[in-house]
């Protein structure tokens, strides 16, 4: 399995790693059993613009790279725009992912959505979009390679 240069770039130099104290929205998706957890922090200004976004991820190279890319794609955009972020947009921005790693991009999309949901809860806005915090992502695994 080989990752694109973009993926390796975001894996080795992940953008926006860290935490935001008093974040306006925090989302955690995935579980340790499956081997990946993403935590997203959003700082949102009065106009609903994401002024800062940080992440922490436990997971494989693709999990780290998709988290990093997702933060880049939503930073500076409004919350409504962030909700439109799809996993395929993340994959595309990374110049593709191996088929068995596509689920990582789904996780990144869900992480952003659940952070926004947390923000909506805080400001008392009804959550008018679908998201799945316990996302039991499909491991669309091709087969088993082993020695």
């Amino acid at each position: 399995m080989k990752y694109s240069e973009k993926v390796m770039d975001h894996f080795t130099n992940p953008r926006n790693v860290g935490e935001i104290e008093n974040a306006d929205g925090v989302g955690v998706v995935g579980n340790a059993k499956c081997g990946d957890i993403m935590k997203m922090y959003l700082k949102i200004d009065d106009n609903g613009v994401i002024v800062d976004c940080k992440f922490k991820t436990f997971g494989c190279g693709a999990a780290i790279a998709t988290s990093s890319m997702a933060t880049e794609l939503v930073k500076g955009h409004t919350v409504e725009e962030a909700l439109k972020l799809t996993n395929s947009a993340v994959v595309e921005a990374l110049d593709g992912l191996p088929a068995i790693k596509v689920h990582c991009s789904v996780l990144a999309e869900e992480a952003i959505k659940s952070a926004v949901a947390d923000y909506y809860k805080k400001i008392g806005k009804p959550i008018d979009f679908d998201y799945d915090p316990d996302h039991d992502h499909d491991h669309d695994h091709g087969g088993e390679d082993e020695e």
Partner: protein, 395 residues
């Protein structure tokens, strides 16, 4: 200083120069078919016989007990399916294996279950040693074959194989062992070790991939897996892979000679273990002493193995992990789960398998690099964040 360190010898080994040199005549001049009655065939047959004799002498068995195959996987399939078919005729339709076998054994057993055989998967203790009490209770007069590996490929644990042989034989079952990881690392003498069948594979021994053998003790009869021409005493069809067979013979001889280096390898292994387990929240997987001389498996909590491998690779270190994300299988390593490692921890396992080609400088280099990589990944792990917060709250 960067260097290249190959620490994945349990996955495969480089073909040694001597093995390549031994094989070359079979490509250049001795390319005959050993079954042909003309001069080209006769000299090929001579080389084949010679290779078989030399292998038999390394393993302490007779040449007639050696059957060449395409590798470990075929030998595993043949031994278990062949024995199951044969023993079924004696009313023995039960197979006993362990939970930590290679998939070549496990999936073979699962396939036989679908054919109506009953299979018991014996458990192991926290170190990966087969539970002999449980094994004793599982093996009965209905058991046709007991298939337990000699040494495990992921955690390196060596089984009490003599005792396991006795347990199988007490009930009249055949005993098969997958010794793919053991041969070359443990001195095996088949005149003393009373297994009925043993599998080994060339590419773990500095011979090429795609060559292996099944030892079948004289007097033990099993069914065929691959039918064809009359090769291998009509038990395994297909024109013999003479170049690779000659290579395997040379590799086994060299492995035997190289055994003198194993104490040095084990010392390097132990240095890796003691240094790497100094990293907080890390622990050794497998048995502390009953383990392969070159195999280290360490679990690092709160991080995932594939990202560790990617970083190590960038530093020039080739290693392996039991994480689901790297194996592309559905779950974390079945071996780690069987020894009771929780899923989240199994994802953070790192396997380093060294050889006598490894140097002390290589070990220094690995130790130098693993710590910072673990730290880097932990610093971006939300699980680690929780631990750090708990720790600072305590203070």
């Amino acid at each position: 200083m960067s260097r290249f360190v190959y620490a994945d010898n349990a996955a495969t080994t480089p073909v040694s120069r001597e093995v390549i040199d031994a094989m070359m005549p079979c490509f250049e001049s001795e390319w005959g078919n050993p079954s042909s009655p003309h001069s080209m065939g006769i000299s090929a047959k001579d080389m084949l016989d010679d290779a078989r004799e030399r292998i038999a002498s390394v393993l302490g068995c007779s040449a007639g007990e050696i059957f060449f195959t395409s590798g470990g996987t075929e030998s595993d399939n043949w031994a278990i399916k062949g024995a199951a078919m044969r023993m079924k005729k004696k009313g023995r339709t039960h197979i006993v294996t362990s939970k930590i076998e290679h998939h070549a054994v496990l999936h073979t057993c699962e396939a036989l279950e679908k054919e109506g055989f009953e299979v018991s998967y014996c458990g192991v203790d926290e170190y990966g040693v087969v539970d002999l009490e449980e094994l004793r209770s599982l093996v009965t007069e209905k058991t046709g074959v007991v298939a337990i590996m000699f040494a495990n490929n992921e955690i390196g644990t060596i089984q009490p194989i003599e005792e396991i042989v006795s347990i199988a034989h007490e009930k009249g079952a055949l005993m098969f062992t997958d010794a793919v990881q053991a041969v070359g690392n443990i001195d095996i003498n088949l005149s003393e070790l009373k297994v009925d069948m043993l599998a080994l594979s060339g590419h773990k021994l500095h011979a090429p991939k795609g060559i292996g053998l099944l030892f079948i003790r004289k007097g033990v009869v099993i069914g065929n897996l691959i039918e064809g021409g009359g090769q291998e005493k009509r038990k395994r069809g297909g024109t013999e892979n003479l170049p690779y067979i000659v290579g395997l013979a040379r590799a086994l001889e060299l492995a035997k000679e190289n055994m003198v280096h194993l104490p040095r390898v084990a010392k390097m292994r132990d240095r890796l273990i003691s240094e790497l387990t100094k990293i907080p929240y890390s622990s050794l997987n497998g048995h502390p002493t009953k383990r392969l001389p070159g195999l280290v498996n360490i679990g690092f909590e709160f991080i995932e193995g594939e990202s560790m491998l990617l970083w190590l690779d960038m530093k020039g270190i080739c290693a392996s992990t039991g994480s689901a994300c790297s194996s592309a299988s559905l779950d974390a390593s079945h071996v780690l789960l069987a020894i009771g490692v929780p899923h989240e921890k199994a994802h953070g396992s790192l396997r380093l398998s060294i050889s006598s080609d490894t140097t002390d400088e290589d070990i220094d280099y690995i130790i130098e690099n693993v710590g910072p990589i673990v730290e880097k990944l932990r610093n971006m792990s939300p699980l680690w964040e929780d631990i750090v917060k708990k720790q600072t709250a305590k203070k």
